[in-house]
Assembly symmetry: C3
Homo-oligomer: 396 residues x 3
Amino acid sequence: MMLATALVFIMHLGFASVEAGFTQSKNTVNILFKNTLTPVLGIVTYALLGFALMYPGEFNGILGFSMDSWDTIWFNSGSADVSEGYADGGYTFWTDFLYQAMFAATAATIVSGAVAERIKLGAYLTFTLFYVGIVYPIIGSWKWGGGFLDELGFVDFAGSTIVHSVGGWGALVGIWLLGPRIGKYNNGSTSEISGSSVPLATIGVFLLWLGWFGFNGGSVLSADPGLTSLVLVTTTLGACGGAIGGHFTSMIVMKRIDFGMVLNGILAGLVGVTAGADIITPFEALFIGGVAGVLVVFSVLLLDKLKLDDCVGAVSVHLTCGIWGTLATGIFGEGASFMSQLYGVLACGAAAIVGSFIIFYILKVTMGLRVSEEAEKHGLDSEEHGIRGYTILIED
Amino acid sequence: MMLATALVFIMHLGFASVEAGFTQSKNTVNILFKNTLTPVLGIVTYALLGFALMYPGEFNGILGFSMDSWDTIWFNSGSADVSEGYADGGYTFWTDFLYQAMFAATAATIVSGAVAERIKLGAYLTFTLFYVGIVYPIIGSWKWGGGFLDELGFVDFAGSTIVHSVGGWGALVGIWLLGPRIGKYNNGSTSEISGSSVPLATIGVFLLWLGWFGFNGGSVLSADPGLTSLVLVTTTLGACGGAIGGHFTSMIVMKRIDFGMVLNGILAGLVGVTAGADIITPFEALFIGGVAGVLVVFSVLLLDKLKLDDCVGAVSVHLTCGIWGTLATGIFGEGASFMSQLYGVLACGAAAIVGSFIIFYILKVTMGLRVSEEAEKHGLDSEEHGIRGYTILIED
Amino acid sequence: MMLATALVFIMHLGFASVEAGFTQSKNTVNILFKNTLTPVLGIVTYALLGFALMYPGEFNGILGFSMDSWDTIWFNSGSADVSEGYADGGYTFWTDFLYQAMFAATAATIVSGAVAERIKLGAYLTFTLFYVGIVYPIIGSWKWGGGFLDELGFVDFAGSTIVHSVGGWGALVGIWLLGPRIGKYNNGSTSEISGSSVPLATIGVFLLWLGWFGFNGGSVLSADPGLTSLVLVTTTLGACGGAIGGHFTSMIVMKRIDFGMVLNGILAGLVGVTAGADIITPFEALFIGGVAGVLVVFSVLLLDKLKLDDCVGAVSVHLTCGIWGTLATGIFGEGASFMSQLYGVLACGAAAIVGSFIIFYILKVTMGLRVSEEAEKHGLDSEEHGIRGYTILIED
C-alpha cells in the first residue's frame, strides 16, 4: 500500500508532463506551476477537510465529518496506536490518509489540463481548494465512505466515476464557462494547436500507466496477491486495448497515424478498466479498453464540433471513458448491476456539475476566470511568471 | 515480484527515452510511436501466443504449447484458485504472466533503436508481432520453460542471452537487411549523426538502470532477501564498471570525453552481469561490467567499419555484451560451465538469426522494409505522422 | 528496504534533471556527465572505503574501519550467511550497503549543482572520490556508526545534517574558492542566468520528492508500518509546506510568481523534515517545511549579496534548511534536545568545512579548479565533450 501511494504520487508528475507536452511552449511554466501546486494544495486541503468528510464513520449517507480522524491527522505523532487494528491490519491509518490524499489531488489535476492556456492562475488554484476539499470528498463518501451509493450496490473499484468522471465533469464545466482559446475555432473550422513536446507527453503517459498500477493495484486494499496481480493484468490489458482502439479509430476516421490518439487511447483504456478491474477477465479488460480507445477519438471530435476547447483531451479521457467504464462494469463485472451503475453515474455527475459550476461561476463573477487577450497571445509564462519554459541556444 | 514487474515496465519508458534522445529530432515522434506500441503489441501478442509457448509445462524440450495457461490468461477472473500453490506460493500466476510479458516486449524494443530513422512503421510493428509472439518464446522455452538448454546446464539468470542477445541478433539482422542511413558512410568515412536530446537519453539510461533492479532482482523469483539484495549489488556494480570502462576506453581510443559511451557503458555493464548476477561476487560484477564497457566501444567502432548502421548502439550493448556476460558466467559463476554457456549462446544465436531473418526477409520482399529516400531525408515525423516532436518557440 | 534503495537511486536522476534544467544549455552535457559519474564513482568509492569507515563496529567514536565488512563487500557471493541474523532480520547486509552507498553519493551530487558551469570536470570528479570515500563516511560514523555524536544524544533521522548539510558545506566551500560565473555579478547588480529547461527541472523535483519517500521511509530501517507510513506523511507535508512557504515569500519579497522558488521550496521542506520525520506530528512537519520554504528564499538572496554564485540554489536548500531542520528537531521532536542538535550541527559543519576546504584547495593549487574564460563563455559542452545537449531542428 505504501508502494501504491508512491506510484499514485508519480501520477502527478505524469499529469504535469502530459499537460506540458500537449500545450504550447509559451505556457509551459504556467502549466507546470499549476500541476506542482495542485498536489501541494490538494494534499493540504484534503488533510484540512477532505479526509474527514470522505470517511466520516457512521453518518447519514450523504454528509458527515469525522472529528476524530481530523484530530489524528494533525496532532498525532509516532505513537503506534492509531494504526493498531486499523483496517484489520491490512494497512495503517497514515497510509490510508496519504493514499487517499494523492487520489483526491488527481481529480483537480484532470481539470488543470482542460482549462490550460487561458485560465487565471488564482482562479484555478482557488477552484482546486474547494473541489478537492469539499466537492470530491462528499461525492466520494457516498460510495467509499459507506454512504447511500454503497448501500445501493454501486460498484466503482478504483474510481472511474468517483475520481475520473468527477474530475472530467469539473473540466467540462470549466471549459464551457471559459470559452475556447483564441484562434482555436475560426469560421467553422478547428485549427490544430501543436503541443510543445511529444517526448514530454510520452513520458507523462508512461508514468501515468505506471502510477495506475498503484491506483488500481492499491485499491485492492489488502495484501491478497492473487487479486492484486490480476488487477495489474486487467489494468495493463485495458491500456493496451485503448492504444489499439485509439490507433485504428484515428487511422480510419482521421486518415492519419495520430500518435496523440494512441497516447490518449492508453489513458482512456486505463480509465475504462478502473471501475471493475477486480471483477472482469483479462479478455474483457482488453475489450473495455479497446472500446474506450474508440470512444476517446469520437469524443474529441464531438467536443470540437461543440466548440468546447479541451487542450489535452481530458474530458474525453476521464469523463467519457469514466462513464463507459462504470457502465461496462455493470455489463461485464461479476456481481454488479447495470442500473446501480447508471444511477451512480447520474448521481455523481449531477453533484460534480453543480459543485464545479457553483465554484467556477462565483470565481467568474468575482475575480474573473480568464486572462486578458494580450496575456493569452503572448503566453502566460512571460505574463505571469517572467521566465520561459525553454531557453535552449542552438548555435550554428 | 509485482514491484519488479512495475520496474520492468518502466524499462519501456527508458528505451523510448534513450532511443528518442539518441536519434534525430525529425524522427522523434516516429520512434516514440514505435516504442509505445512495442509494449502494447508485445504484451497482447505474448498473451495470445508467447506465454503458452514459453512455459508449455511438460514438453519435448524444443516446442510446446500450454492450452491450460492460454485459457486461464484470457477467461479467468478474480477467482483465486489459479494462483493457489502456484510457484510454491512465491508469486501468483498473474504476476508470472505479466512479468514475463514485460520481459518479452523488451526483446523487440532492442531492435527498434537499431533500425530507427529508416524502417517502415508497418514493417517494424509486424516484425514485433512475430518476434515477440513466436521466436522469442520458443527460444525462451529451451531454458526457462525447462527445455533442452536447461537440461544441459546452461545458466542464464535474467536473460543476457535469452532476452538481450536474442534482441541484439534481431537488431543486427535488421540493420544488415536495411542498410545504413543516407549520409552515414560517405567515401570511407563515418559521419556522426547527433542525437536530438542528451537529457532525454540520460533519463532513459537511469530509468533502465532502475528497471534492471526489477529485471534482475525479480528474477530471483522468490522472496529470498539475501540473494535478491546481493543481486541488486552485483547489478549496480556491473553498471558502475561499465560506465568506467566505457569512459576510459573512449578517452584512450577516441581521445575525447564521450558521454554517449558512458551511457552505453552503463547499459553494457548491466547486460553483462545479467546472466550470472546471482552467482558472482561484487568484485567480479565490477570486473565483468568493466570489460563490457570496454567491449561496447570497440563493438561500435567495428560495426561502423562494417557499415552496419546501428542508430543507438543496441547491437553493441545487447548482443556483444550479452554474449560476453553469458560466457563470463561460465568463467566466474559458481556452478556454471563455460562449454554449456558457449553452447547456449550458439543455439540461441542460430535460432534468433534464422527467425529474425525469415521475418525481415518476407517483409522486405512483400511490403518493403525501408521508407522512401525522400521520407528519410524529410524525417519520418512529417511524412508518416504529420506532426513534429518539438514545437518550441524561442522568442527573442 | 530494497524498494527504498531503488527510490534513493532515482534521486540521482532527480538531481541530474534539476541541475541540467536550472543551468544553461551550453553546459547540459557537462552537468549530465558529472551527475551520471557521481553515483558511479560514489558507489564504487563507498564500497572501497566509505562503508567500512562509516560502520566500523566497535571503535573509538571518531575514526574506525571494519576489515570484515570490506572483505564481505568485495569477495562474498550468494552465500546467505552474511545476512543471517543481520539487523535482527530487518534487512540484509547487502541492502544495508547499497542503501548507504546511494545515500553517500547524494552528498557529492549536492556539490555538483552549486559549482556547475565553471568547474573543471577532473577537479569535480576527484573531489567526489575523496568526499564520498573519506569525509562523508567519517562524519557519518559519528552518528550512524555509533560514534561520539550518537552517544551525546544527537538526533538526525535521515540526514538533514549528516547528508544534506555535509553536502551543502562542500558546495559552499566550492563556490567560494571557485568564484562566481562570468557576468553573474556586474557593477553591484545580480543578473539572472536562465536555466535551459523548466520541464526538466520540474521532473527532477518530483523525482526527488518520490526518492525522499525512500530516503526517509527507508530510514525507519525496519518493517514497522505504522512509523514508516507516518514518516511518509510528515515527509509529504514538509514538501507541501516548503512549496507554500517558497511561493508566498517570493511573491512578497520578489513581487513575482517565481516557480523556481516553489521548486526549491519543495526541496527545502523535504530537507527540513528529514532530521526528525519520525518524531514530529504532521502539523509540525507542515510548519517546519513552511519555514524552510521561507528560509530558502532569503538564503538565495543573501548568497547573491555575498557574491557566492550557486547555480541551482543547492547551498540554500541543503545547508540552510539542513541546519534549520536539525535545530527544529531539537525544538519540536519528542526526545531530542536543542543543545545536542546544535552541537551536532557545529561538529559536522566544522568537519565538512575543513574536509572540503583541504580537498578543493589542494586541487586548486595542483590541477586548478576552474576552466578557462574562453571555455566558460563557449560552454563546457563544445569545449570538453564536443557535442551539444540539444540538437533540435525547428523547421519552418
